[in-house]
Amino acid sequence: MKEFALIFRVSENGATQVTPAQMQDRMTSWTNWMGGIAARNQLVNGGSRLGVKGSKTVRADRSVTDGPYAEVKEFINGYIIVKANSVEEAAEIAKECPILYGGGKVEVRPLVTPENNE
């Protein structure tokens, strides 16, 4: 089995109005998604959410700006690490990720290890 990071990317203008009931549903779909991966014994690390407020970006010239580093209004909001036989299988896991329902994307990246360093 190889390990992959699933990196969640969302765009800034995704901040639509969400009702408490929708929030509850969203929480449930996240715990079910994570629980399902763990139930197949494919969860290596539960990872973390990454905050936006209170973040800074430091550039090569040592300048510090507020906010996360964003390409084309898109920033990383979290990640988990899973194990799978192939990148295709890891992508199948990502297809069920709740971030996709909110218009986000999931980037599937192999972890570089001594055994896997292509």
Partner: protein, 414 residues
């Protein structure tokens, strides 16, 4: 106390304690001799009490005679010089003016010895399965025959397992000590895993001896209870959570088997037979376990078990159970939890959605995987249901399990 049950009950209650007291005095290398001496003491008791009547305080009699037997045996034995004398000088400074050859039999000393023995038997260098056997033998005083019958194996196998465990104790020069404070969380974790296995051995054992299985559960609970009251470990929330979990589970012990030893599934149990007092005790331990916001696997499992103490099915109940299994699996994978999660998933989202969840678990060849899929496919695709139930029947090891599966299969043939 009923005199016909006097010796077996004393044996169960005191054997492990007396062995622990002797070992904490003379070192863990004395374990085999201590076990022999205590067995001999019980034999002497049976004969003496039979002739002269039972003394007013039979337990005190046993401790005193075992102590004298141990001291006599040591005086006679060269082992004393080679092994024990060194221990006496190194391990046990005698400051209370009593003779170096005496043994302290105060209640405090007995409890202290038992706790030391718990940490010694559950030492991480001993394989988990051997820890459970050693705990059953040395901490709980079950006989080799009883342990063998619970594991559905032979005396020889259990003896081998015990022998290897004791060999490891000697080889690693493990002392009968409490772990240093820095190691306490991880050492305690090993202890809890072993005591939980011991409990499950009683709860899920395929052995037809219901009394024995219940005794295993009660012994595991007694030892965890001891940890909940000890100064060293009582403040650790996992201990309280495991105690709560065991109370909730044990509350259904009498309801889950019928008069003929047959298994009664949760949904069909008569909840009037559930032990409400035990559930209440479980609630008290759970409140204590939750006072500092810690969340271990035992907290999650206790919470799941708590939801099961209410038989009424509500959407809320199963949504919570599913959520808790999700958390439990993220914390620690186990096939049992993965399968239970699929079952909870079916109760929340229906069988059709649960089937792909269950099939994705890749647990082909696991009894509970096939019996779960058999249930999920029932009413959806009966051919698949029969295939899975037949697979499960082939894998089922015990008569009660087979009976449950046969009953399910019969519904399809009519």
């Amino acid at each position: 106390m009923d005199e016909r049950r006097l010796i077996p009950e004393l044996y169960r209650a005191e054997y492990g304690k007396i062995v622990a007291v002797l070992c904490s005095r003379f070192g863990i290398g004395f374990m085999d001799e201590a076990a022999d001496i205590v067995s001999e003491t019980f034999l002497t008791a049976a004969e003496t009490w039979g002739m002269k009547g039972v003394p007013a305080n039979p337990a005190a009699w046993l401790y005193t005679v075992a102590r004298n037997n141990a001291l006599n045996s040591l005086r006679r034995s060269r082992v004393f010089d080679r092994k024990v004398r060194g221990h006496l000088i190194r391990e046990t400074p005698v400051s209370d003016g009593s003779s170096a050859h005496d043994i302290d039999l105060t209640q405090q000393r007995i409890t202290d010895s038992q706790l030391r023995m718990v940490f010694t038997v559950c030492h991480p260098s001993i394989p988990a399965e051997a820890q459970v056997s050693l705990a059953l033998r040395i901490l709980c005083g079950f006989t080799i025959d009883e342990i063998a019958s619970a594991y559905l194996t032979t005396r020889e196998n259990i003896n081998k397992r015990l022998f290897r465990a004791k060999q490891r104790l000697r080889k690693e020069k493990i002392k009968m000590d409490f772990p240093p404070v820095s190691d306490l969380p991880s050492r305690l974790n090993t202890v809890l895993v072993t005591l939980y296995l011991l409990f499950n051995e009683g709860y899920y054992s395929a052995s037809p001896d219901k009394v024995l299985r219940k005794d295993f559960c009660l012994e595991a609970m007694r030892l965890v209870y001891m940890l909940t009251t000890s100064q060293l470990t009582s403040g650790i929330q996992n201990v309280q959570a495991l105690m709560a979990l065991m109370c909730f589970q044990a509350s259904r012990f009498d309801a889950r088997t019928g008069a003929g030893g047959e298994l009664i599934l949760y949904e069909q149990q008569d909840s009037a037979l559930w032990d409400r007092q035990l559930i209440d005790r479980g609630n008290q331990f759970f409140v204590q376990a939750s006072s500092q916001g810690e969340l271990s696997r035992y907290h999650l499992e206790a919470a799941i078990a708590w939801w099961h103490t209410n038989q009424t099915d509500t959407q809320e109940k199963w949504e919570n159970i599913l959520r808790l299994y999700n958390h439990l699996l993220v914390l620690e994978y186990s096939p049992v939890a993965a399968l239970s999660r699929s079952y909870a998933y079916s109760r929340v989202y229906g069988k059709e959605k649960a089937i792909p969840e269950a099939e994705s678990l890749r647990l082909d060849g696991n009894l509970f995987y096939h019996s779960l899929l058999g249930d999920l496919y029932t009413g959806i695709d009966d051919r698949q249901a029969v295939t899975h139930l037949e697979r499960a029947l082939k894998l089922a090891g015990s008569a009660p399990e087979q009976a449950v599966l046969r009953a399910k299969l019969e519904r399809f043939s009519s």
